[in-house]
Every structure is written in structure tokens, then in C-alpha cells.
């Protein structure tokens, strides 16, 4: 029972003609992660694995609080801990909930060669449709945030789905509901942008001069946004300063495709007309010269 029909799919990977674009009034949803309220408790990790029935392996402690230490096919969101001193002398412990940013112009969808393996819904969620995934790993190259993970067990790509199943029946994502301090909030994109900017102003009042909303334009804005205490230095927390789909990927998936296909087919057509016009090079030409 899925309540998202084809009209709700606004973009599909490896599909030359556009999908139905009629639902222009569908609200764009967004998740806002307010780092200033995040206590790194990993409730979102646990809620995510419980809702999606995932259980990663039980790893080991490698001397940090990050467990597991990176996104994996079975851990779609992971807390990353950064001990930084932006201003000399006062230590800050920045904690960031890592996971899919659900970009407006998703690099993964652009890079994916398999039709329908990656879709973007009208509400902005970018989702993997695992039956169509062929495990080629192109999405890993396409993503500016290094999010998709390919499973060794089934060679399928996995990432946060922004709980597309909950959202499709009107519920908020599992991590949003469980976040104890309300660091994660959810709503329409406009509301979340407005709330994020207001939070940034409030943080400025509390002394974080460079607080700001992280909603990178390079990928057309994202449906998962951060309020960062140091929005001027996102790299402090392994966040690209102004991410965009790599020009190499755009080149690879943008202009070369039609040009190359045109050149190949064009070459064949050219050869055909060349043959018709110039005609073949005969073998016997030698004998006639002898004869003459």
C-alpha cells in the first residue's frame, strides 16, 4: 500500500524524458538539524535502525565516541564528534548528525545509470529504489557529501530515506520524533528555512557570531539543513564549504552523453552516405590500367 504514485515522482535516474511534472503545488518537506541543541546522544541512530529494521555489526572502540565510525549500509545516520578550538583557549565539542542531505539537484540521481534506481519525490525526498539498483557505485561518485554506501552482502546502495514511508502516510521521520532536545525539527522547506534563520539569529545573540543556516546553493539547496554554530567554517565538521555536483560528474553525465552518442551514430550515418556518394574502392582498378 504505497500512497506515492508516479505523479509524485518528479525525477528518476537514467530517464531521458521528464517524469510527470504536474504536481507543482506539492509541499517540499525539510529536516532541520540545529547543532546548538544536539547533545550527540545517538537517539536518532537508534530510532532509525529500529524503524527501518536495520542492525549493524557491533564494532569496537577505536578511541572515539563515533560508533559506528562512519555511515555504513546498515547505519543510515551516524553522529560525528569534533573537538575543535575555533577561538584559542575555548574548546568546543561540535557534534553533527551525518546522513543524506536530500539535495534539490541530487548528484547521485544524476550519476546513476540504472533507470528508476534513484527517484526524487514531489516533496523533495531522494530515495533509492533497491530493486532497480545494479550496484555499480556511480551514486558514490555523484554525491558531493559522500553519503551512499554499497552493501558487500547484496551490492545495493543504501542511505537515509528521510522515512519516505512515514512521510507518505503523514508522519514525521523517526529521528525527528525521537530527538530528545528538539535539535531535529521537520516541516515544509520554507518553514524550516525560516526557523533555521531565526535560530541562527538567536545563536548570534548568545555569542556565536558566525552562526548560520547551512543550505548549500551549489546543489540547489537541501531538504536536510543544519544550523551551524560556525557556518563560516563548515569544514570544522567535515562539511564541504560550498558543495555542488562535481563538474567532472556534470561533464560525464551532462554534455558528453548526447554528444558521444550523436558522434557514434553520426559516424555510421556518415559512413553510409560516404559509401553512397564515393562508392567503394574497387580491387580491379589495377587490371584495367594493365589492359590499357
Amino acid at each position: 500500500m504505497s500512497s506515492l504514485q508516479s505523479l509524485d515522482v518528479v525525477a528518476r535516474s537514467a530517464t531521458t524524458l521528464p517524469t510527470p511534472q504536474i504536481r507543482t503545488a506539492a509541499p517540499h518537506v525539510a529536516k532541520l538539524i540545529d547543532e546548538s541543541k544536539c547533545i550527540g546522544c545517538k537517539a536518532c541512530q537508534v530510532a532509525c535502525m529500529n524503524w527501518n529494521d536495520l542492525r549493524d555489526d557491533i564494532g569496537n572502540n577505536v578511541g572515539v565516541y563515533d560508533n559506528p565510525s562512519d555511515l555504513t549500509p546498515s547505519s543510515w545516520t551516524v553522529m560525528k564528534f569534533f573537538e575543535v578550538e575555533p577561538t584559542e583557549g575555548n574548546l568546543e565539542w561540535l557534534i553533527r548528525k551525518d546522513g543524506c542531505m536530500h539535495c534539490e539537484d541530487p548528484g547521485c540521481l544524476k550519476a546513476c545509470p540504472s533507470p528508476g534506481a534513484i527517484v526524487k519525490y514531489a516533496n523533495g525526498i531522494v530515495d533509492f529504489v533497491s530493486e532497480n539498483c545494479i550496484g555499480c557505485g556511480y551514486c558514490v561518485k555523484g554525491c558531493p557529501f559522500d553519503v551512499p554506501r554499497i552493501s558487500q552482502k547484496d551490492n545495493k546502495a543504501y542511505k537515509c530515506t528521510l522515512c519516505s514511508d512515514r512521510v507518505s502516510v503523514g508522519l514525521e521521520p523517526a529521528c525527528v520524533k525521537t530527538c530528545p532536545t528538539g535539535a531535529i525539527s521537520y516541516g515544509t522547506k520554507d518553514d524550516m528555512v525560516a526557523y533555521g534563520n531565526r535560530r541562527a539569529e538567536e545563536l548570534k545573540e548568545r555569542g556565536h557570531q558566525n552562526a548560520g543556516l547551512y543550505n548549500p546553493e551549489g546543489v540547489g539547496g537541501t531538504h536536510v539543513m543544519y544550523v551551524l554554530k560556525h557556518a563560516d567554517k563548515p569544514q570544522l565538521e567535515d562539511l564541504p564549504a560550498n558543495p555542488s555536483v562535481s563538474p567532472l560528474v556534470s561533464l560525464w553525465k551532462g554534455t558528453t552523453k548526447p554528444l558521444a552518442v550523436a558522434s557514434m551514430l553520426g559516424a555510421m550515418v556518415l559512413g553510409f552516405f560516404h559509401y553512397m556518394k564515393v562508392g567503394p574502392i574497387e580491387e580491379k582498378e589495377k587490371t584495367e590500367k594493365e589492359g590499357a
Binding site: 544536539c38 547533545i39 557491533i58 564494532g59 578511541g63 573537538e83 574548546l91 530528545p180 528538539g182
Partner: protein
């Protein structure tokens, strides 16, 4: 908690000290972030480590483990010397004006009346001077040097900022910044709240840690007010509930002090516990003690408890000594204990000095463990290599393990930190043959009763007479039990004589058989029964109020009066009379909680914590449980002194108490009980130079969630935490395996090297901290590890015997 979780959103300043609210109580901590966002409140964290609470705090200050009293005493000195106190509040609600006895003194680390051999105080020189009419003498001008206010000023003048910084290692500027932020809430319209937990209680000066903060809250005028109070963030869902049911040797259900050998007759027992006002018009609520105790005995023994058998007073066991958990294991260790029932508790992991516990358990004849999970305690006899190196053939204890249901498989109530009792329904059946705890205890008792009926034995009468009115004797239904706890009228409860017209015949307040609406209906003539007087009212005539789910909050102050039932009498903030000034006007109009409307206190946001018709001019104090009706800055009840004094932990990295450097006997708490054998087991700083503390992480709940796969994934393996500079000194890199040793045992784990634990400058020397999370053992789905309590010292707080898990000495090296 004196206030409640949702009340925290009303505060202007949150101090998190002696606790780590963000990690240990994340969902409660939401109300701190709510206050920060909505009211622009500030959050200060003072902790040896830069915890995840500090990650979102406005201000963080480091402190050496075990020196909280020095820090807070320095704050008191700051408040008193700079006159940053809420004077009207102090004069109205505290004993500041009372005169102390002439004999009271404090000299070089000891209060007057110290007895070195018995390590205890003769308290005759403490307390207030009382006049011939039995009321205390006061000096409202606060100038008399004997008044509590001046005594306090003199006592705390010694805690200069410079000395406090030298003891605690907190840089002086940071200490003064915290003092100033706290002092700001002395303004009548400003309130602060303190969120603390085991970081304060688990010291040999634990109780005094909390008292010092309570004194600060009184001086700042924050007790009993929305957004104020002293809030203990307790560890377990129903630890407040089991505390109220008083599963302790010292008290009976409802905090009724239990009889000891000295209480040879019931009259003497009641007389010493019935409070009498020490000031005119005080409610001295403990004057109702006989009603509570008689009702409890009727609940226990029903018809068998009558006037002529002193309401079964003799059947109540009298206590002759201490039987707290440390005392019990000491007796076990001495071979004096034969049996041990261990219900939902994992002492081998949770009690200090694992080696001693293991030896004690091995001397038992039988051990019965009742737990939903396979605990370390139930398998103390099994060899798990270095994690539990024992020889089963040498352990003769017969060990039973009963499968019990867990919370999801048991209908009943929990009481949370905010004293709210909430009813929950069973979701699923217990797995296999597991049964609820109540059913197991009931079946055990019924079998014992049969055995005594058939074969007799020592003192069979109380067993035969124990009131067992349950429809299914071997499985009492929670509803029956909660109604019994609430109490009901055994005979018609008559109204007390009306002072205005004494001739009027008494009216029937509660018909026989009905549930009691509240503890005001309890009688000492045997006409009422009540299992726990503070819970009276939770299942009154209108039904089970604990099951109420109306989450409306009409005043917006986070009171939620119709959600569940808060004891006592559904009051959500204790001492809330103190939220209004002398003539009944709220201190802060924007947070109007209680006000005197000319004829009554009712109609405010909460049930008044005072007689509703007690007009302000009568001067009825807000602290109705105390005979003097006001809060105690000078508290006689404390074992180690009426005013909190800094004492070093028993294993101190400094070796001397800088408050009394010459008195070698007052380095550590002179009144703490130390068993022979444990004194020798204390490590010295020469061999164990680093100050260690044990604590929990947000991903785990003690030794319980290591059985849960989800939590194992997000925090898989044991580790210890050290600062970057200690790591450099020891050549330890991030992730190396390290061995941490104390004088009692060792732990091997991975090592987290972090900037969040800096070395502190204490008395001119560098003191490093070693942090040891406690969550791993040799059972569970996580990576197994050593029990952290192999390291901890076997000594407890002088008043509560809570062990000193938070400050001891270790050494660390690469494993």
C-alpha cells in the same frame, strides 16, 4: 526533585554540576534547551570532564573530582560577602535568624563534639537555643554573632576564591564568573535551578554536597518557586517509587523511621517521631506520625492489628545496626549472612570493590536472583577468564535464578523523578516461564505460610496474620495493591472536633470500605488502613488517578495537574508557599504560582503546600515537614556537621585538606564509616597518582542496556578516557589498550584520548583525571569487559552510605 521536569522550562539559569543531565536524562534535558531558547536562560556546566551537557552549555568550568563542597562553599562566601542574597526570602523561609547554642564551635576541621574512636559527633552543642515556651530564640536584625546567619558568614569566610581555586583546580576567573552568574538570580524576579545526580551523591560527603547547594538556593531565594528548587535527576524509572516504598532497613513505607532497639515500647517509638512545632503556628506536619504508622500496621496486619496488641508493634522487626548494601556485603564477607534475595539488582556490577563482593557471595548458603536478564551477579560463580577469575568448585553457594517479567510485561505504576505516579498497562506476556516480581514474592510467601501452618517454627504468628486479602493469593492484582497503598476506611471516618463550635456532632467524612481521598483522613485509632501515606489520594473514591492522561497545562507553567498523580496530594512543586512573599504576593508576577487571595491559597497553578486557609499574617512557614516550619541552613540531622565543610575523598591526589592542613585526622570525612580492612585497601597517591571517576554514557543505562543490540551498536566496547597531556606523558595513543589499576583491582580497555579532560593545577601541582564508564561486564551482547567497580573504594557517605564511586585513585599504563 522538589520541582518537576517540565518546570525546568520556567528557569532563568540552569546549573548542571555533580551530574550530566544531557547524557543521563536526555528527554528531561529538553526542558533545559527549551528554557534556553524560550526564556534566553543560560546553562552552566561544572564537571571534571567537558561532557555532552557542556557541548550545548553557555559556560563550562572544570573542577577536580570530590571538591564540590569547596566550590559551592566559595559561592556561599561570594554571596554573603558581596550581599548578593534575597534577604526578604531568607528571613521569611530559613532559620537565618535563629540563635545557635553557645557551645557550638568549629575548629581546624572538626565541629564541637567530635569523638575520634567512634568517628561520630555528640550533637548536643548543635541546634538552636529554645526559650521556656519551647520555641526557638531569634534575632531579626541578623547582627547577633550567634545567629545562624553570622555563624554561616564566619564559617564560609574561610573559602576565599584563591583557596577555592587551589583546592578545586578551577581557574579563579572561571570560578568567579560562575559565582557572578549564580548571584544574579538573587533578584526576586530571577530564578535558577540545579540539576544534579550521582556526580554529587556518590561521595563520602555526598549528602553535604547537596545540602550546600540547597543552602545556596535558599540564600538566592529559589526554593519552592517555578523554575527553581533542587532537582535530583534519579537513575531508574522507579527508583523514586521504590524509595517511597522504603525498601531500606532505616525506614518503613512513607519515610516512617523504623523502630530500633531503643524504641522498646510503641508509645516511646511514636513519641520520638512525632514532631512538635518549634515556632508558633507551624504545621509541623510530622505531628501526624501516629496516624500514618497505625494505618500502615492495619494495611500489614488488618484485623490482627488491634489496640490491645499495640497494633502488632512487636511483630515489626527492630533494627540494631546498619543494614545498608555496604553493611550487608561486609556481614556477608564476615560469613554472618546465609541467604540473599537479589530482585532486579546487579550488585556484583553496581557495588564497589568487586573482589570483596565476590568473596562475600561465595560465603552464602543460598542466593536467589530474580531478574529479567542474565546478570553478572547470578553468575558470580562462573569463570569468565580475566573478566571473572573464580574457581566454581570452591564456591558452595546454591544459586537460584528466577525469570521475571520486565516493565513491558507488567501492569502497574512507576513514580518518576518529579514524584508523578503513572499507571501503565501490560503490552505483551513475559517470555518463557517468566513471572512478574509481585507474583513470585506472593507465591514464595504463600508457600512459606503453608510450611509454617503445617510444621510451625520460630514466631509463626506474624506470618499467619499478614493481611493477604487478594482475590488470587498467589498473584495479587496491581489494582488491588494500589488501592491498598492508597488506603481505605475500615470504619466510618469521623470529622475532627470543629474549634469554632465544639458542640457540633462529628460528621462522617469517609464511609467504611471507601477509598480515602487523602492523608488528612488517616486516623490513629485503627479505623483507617494505608500502605503508604504519601501516596494517599492516588486511588481515592473517584478512581485510579494515576491512570489520568489529560495533558493540559492551563497556566503554561508546565504543571500538568491532571496527568497521573503526584505525591504528596498531587502537589507538583514542593514548598510552593515560598513562591510568594510575606503577604502572599508572588515574588515574580510573570511566573505567578501561588497567591493569597484574602481567604485562601487555593486557585493558583498548583495544590498549595500549606494549609489552604493559613493566612500569611499567621506566619505559617513554607517548609511544613520541619518543626520550625522553615528551611534549615544550620542542620542538626547531618552526621558530619551542621554546616557543610570541605573534606577530601578517602583516596586523595593531594594528600592534605587545604582547609585544615595541620589536622591529619580531618583530611577525609571524619564521620564516614570505614570498616576494618577497607582502610588498608585505600590507595596512596604515590602509587596511584591519578584522580579517577566512574560515570555513565548516554547510550547505556548502567549494566542493563549491554543486553540490547541497538545500544551495543552505538556504544560497543569498554573504554577509559584520559586527557591529551596525560596521554602524552604516558605515550598512549588514541585507541590503544590500557590497563587501569587501583589498590583493589584492575580494568583493561580501549583508551579515548581527548581534549575534553585537561590537567588541573591543584595546590601548585598538576592533577590528571582518568574517566571510566561503567557499562560493560562479562554478560551481554556488547563486547565484554571488566566491571569498572573492580576499582572503586568500599566506603560510603556518612549519612546515606552511598559509595564513593566518583573520586578515587588509579594508575594507568599501556596494556
Amino acid at each position: 526533585m522538589t520541582n518537576s521536569w517540565t518546570d525546568i522550562k520556567n528557569t532563568d539559569l540552569v546549573l548542571i554540576m555533580g551530574g550530566n543531565a544531557a547524557e543521563a536524562h536526555p528527554c528531561g534535558f529538553k526542558w533545559v534547551t527549551e528554557a534556553m531558547q524560550q526564556r534566553k536562560a543560560k546553562l552552566i556546566v561544572v564537571d571534571p570532564r567537558f561532557t555532552r551537557s557542556a557541548a550545548v552549555a553557555d559556560y563550562y568550568a572544570p573542577i577536580r573530582v570530590g571538591t564540590d563542597i569547596a566550590f559551592l562553599a566559595g559561592v556561599i562566601n561570594y554571596l554573603l560577602s558581596k550581599d548578593r542574597i534575597h534577604l526578604d526570602y531568607v528571613k521569611l523561609n530559613t532559620d537565618a535568624t535563629f540563635l545557635t547554642k553557645e557551645g557550638y564551635a568549629f575548629e581546624d576541621g572538626f565541629f564541637s563534639g567530635y569523638n575520634g574512636e567512634r568517628r561520630s559527633y555528640d550533637k548536643s552543642t548543635w541546634g538552636y537555643q529554645t526559650g521556656k515556651d519551647g520555641y526557638v530564640l531569634t534575632d531579626d536584625t541578623l547582627q547577633n554573632p550567634l545567629c545562624v546567619f553570622q555563624q554561616m558568614k564566619k564559617h564560609y569566610a574561610r573559602y576565599t576564591p584563591e583557596l577555592v581555586s587551589r583546592i578545586t583546580g578551577t581557574p579563579q576567573d572561571q570560578f568567579l564568573k560562575v559565582c557572578e552568574m549564580l548571584a544574579a538570580t538573587s533578584a526576586p524576579d530571577k530564578v535558577m535551578t540545579i540539576c544534579y545526580a550521582l556526580g554529587w551523591t556518590q561521595h563520602t560527603v555526598g549528602s553535604q554536597n547537596i545540602r550546600t547547594m540547597a543552602m545556596i538556593q535558599l540564600l538566592l531565594g529559589n526554593m519552592g518557586r517555578p523554575g527553581g528548587g533542587v532537582n535530583a535527576l534519579r537513575g531508574h524509572a522507579n527508583v523514586q517509587g521504590i524509595t517511597d516504598m522504603c525498601a531500606y532497613s532505616e525506614v518503613l513505607s512513607g519515610y516512617l523511621s523504623a523502630p530500633t532497639d531503643a524504641d522498646d515500647t510503641r508509645a516511646k517509638y511514636l513519641e520520638t517521631r512525632t514532631g512538635k512545632p518549634l515556632r508558633p503556628n507551624q504545621m509541623a506536619f510530622t505531628q501526624n506520625f501516629p496516624k500514618w504508622h497505625t494505618s500502615l500496621m492495619k494495611a500489614y496486619y488488618g484485623n490482627a492489628a488491634t489496640k490491645d496488641n499495640q497494633f502488632a508493634y512487636d511483630w515489626l522487626p527492630k533494627r540494631d545496626a546498619a543494614y545498608d548494601i555496604l553493611a550487608m556485603f561486609e556481614r556477608m564477607h564476615q560469613g554472618k549472612m546465609n541467604g540473599f534475595l537479589c530482585q532486579g539488582f546487579n550488585p556484583l556490577a553496581a557495588v564497589p570493590n568487586k573482589k570483596k563482593l565476590s568473596a562475600g557471595l561465595a560465603k552464602l548458603k543460598f542466593l536467589v536472583v530474580m531478574d529479567p536478564l542474565e546478570t553478572e551477579t547470578s553468575e558470580f560463580w562462573k569463570n569468565y577468564g580475566p573478566l571473572n577469575d573464580v574457581d566454581p568448585t570452591k564456591i558452595a553457594t546454591e544459586v537460584f535464578r528466577f525469570p521475571t517479567s520486565c516493565f513491558a510485561e507488567e501492569t502497574g505504576t512507576f513514580t518518576n523523578s518529579s514524584r508523578v505516579i503513572s499507571w501503565k498497562e501490560k503490552a505483551v506476556d513475559p517470555p518463557g516461564l517468566a513471572k512478574p516480581d509481585s507474583e513470585i514474592i506472593a507465591r514464595l510467601f504463600v508457600k512459606l505460610r503453608e510450611m509454617y501452618a503445617k510444621d510451625g517454627g520460630t514466631l509463626p504468628e506474624p506470618i499467619a496474620a499478614l493481611n493477604w486479602p487478594y482475590i488470587n493469593a498467589s498473584a495479587p492484582h496491581p489494582a488491588e495493591l494500589l488501592r491498598e497503598i492508597n488506603g481505605r476506611a475500615l470504619a466510618d471516618v469521623m470529622s475532627p472536633p470543629d474549634p469554632k463550635n465544639p458542640a457540633a456532632p462529628p460528621t462522617v467524612l469517609v464511609k467504611a470500605g471507601d477509598q480515602l481521598p487523602g492523608f488528612a483522613m488517616l486516623r490513629d485509632d485503627g479505623s483507617t488502613s494505608c500502605g503508604n501515606w504519601i501516596y494517599a489520594g492516588c486511588w481515592g473514591p473517584t478512581g485510579n488517578l494515576t491512570a489520568r492522561r489529560d495533558n493540559s497545562d492551563p497556566t503554561g507553567l508546565g504543571v500538568f495537574p491532571n496527568w497521573g498523580f503526584a505525591w504528596p496530594a498531587n502537589r507538583r512543586i514542593l514548598y510552593n508557599r515560598a513562591s510568594a512573599d510575606a503577604n502572599g504576593k508572588p515574588w515574580d508576577p510573570s511566573r505567578k504560582y501561588l497567591a493569597w487571595n484574602g481567604s485562601s491559597w487555593a486557585g493558583g497553578a498548583d495544590i498549595p503546600d500549606i494549609r489552604p486557609d493559613a493566612a500569611p499574617e499567621q506566619g505559617v512557614g513554607a517548609f511544613i515537614m520541619n518543626p520550625e516550619g522553615v528551611a534549615r541552613l544550620h542542620a542538626v540531622g547531618m552526621a558530619e556537621g551542621p554546616f557543610p565543610e570541605h573534606y577530601e575523598p578517602f583516596e586523595t591526589p593531594v594528600g592534605v585538606n587545604l582547609m585544615c592542613p595541620t589536622n591529619a585526622k580531618a583530611v577525609s570525612n571524619p564521620a564516614a564509616r570505614v570498616y576494618k580492612g577497607d582502610l588498608e585497601a585505600f590507595g596512596r597517591k604515590e602509587e596511584f597518582p591519578y584522580a579517577a571517576t566512574t560515570y555513565r554514557l548516554t547510550e547505556h543505562l548502567h549494566y542493563w542496556t549491554k543486553h540490547s543490540r541497538s545500544n551495543a551498536i552505538v556504544q560497543p566496547a569498554p573504554f577509559v578516557e584520559i586527557g591529551v597531556d596525560l596521554a602524552k606523558e604516558k605515550g598512549i595513543r588514541q585507541g590503544d589498550r590500557v590497563r587501569v589499576k587501583s589498590n583493589r583491582g584492575e580494568v583493561v580497555a580501549a583508551c579515548v584520548v581527548t581534549k575534553r579532560m585537561k590537567a588541573l593545577d591543584v595546590n601548585g601541582k598538576k592533577v590528571h583525571h582518568v574517566g571510566i564508564p561503567i557499562h560493560w561486564g562479562f554478560k551481554g551482547v556488547t563486547q565484554n569487559g571488566y566491571l569498572a567497580n573492580a576499582l572503586t573504594p568500599f566506603v560510603g557517605d556518612a549519612n546515606s552510605q552511598t559509595p564513593e564511586f566518583k573520586a578515587f585513585l588509579v594508575n594507568i599504563e599501556k596494556a
